[in-house]
Subunit: 75 residues, 2 copies
DNA sequence: TTAATTGTGGACTTTTAAGTCTACAATTAA
DNA sequence: TTAATTGTAGACTTAAAAGTCCACAATTAA
């Protein structure tokens, strides 16, 4: 099943992917800049994960942005 | 053990508590405005939980704020 | 053509959030 | 004083995130 928050996860993931591609980073690049496995990031980008606060902060660290920016997408 | 992200959780929790108290909401009040148990919210406010994306959005809904605002605290 | 890179998915274990409920001490209101 | 409210913690189950690793097809570079 897709789960109650699937749309939210999808929107988050789409936004994350944009932010990553804007910086011309591959999944493995981003992975090396934070403490998240590249396959995990792939799953997040594809809306498969309801990630935790800590992961949001890790991604922000890797992207070099304020964590708030990762929540800056339309629902 | 406190865990790797304990400080982050503490800061998030402190911030959440402020936002709730600014609105004069009790834990049970806030709980009734979102889909989170009041005892869960208590644990989040006290830095005991590395909450998920969906919970951040639930809290934002209950507080009537943009989810981004929940990440607007100093690390 | 060969070699490297890239995104993705699966397998698997361990950890923990979510969800639900109960209870209780301390504070506040009636 | 009594009753209600408030914050908190514990017990317990279920679901799933985290974490790690491997494999592979497709794309891109050498």
């Amino acid at each position: 099943m897709k789960g109650k928050y699937y749309e939210l996860q999808e929107n988050f993931g789409r936004h994350l992917k944009l932010l990553r591609e804007e910086r011309s980073l591959s999944l493995r690049d981003l992975s090396s800049l934070c403490e998240l496995d590249s396959s995990k990031i792939s799953k997040i980008e594809n809306g498969k994960t309801n990630l935790q606060l800590s992961s949001i902060f890790e991604l922000a660290k890797g992207l070099g942005i304020d964590p708030k920016e990762l929540l800056d997408f339309k629902i």
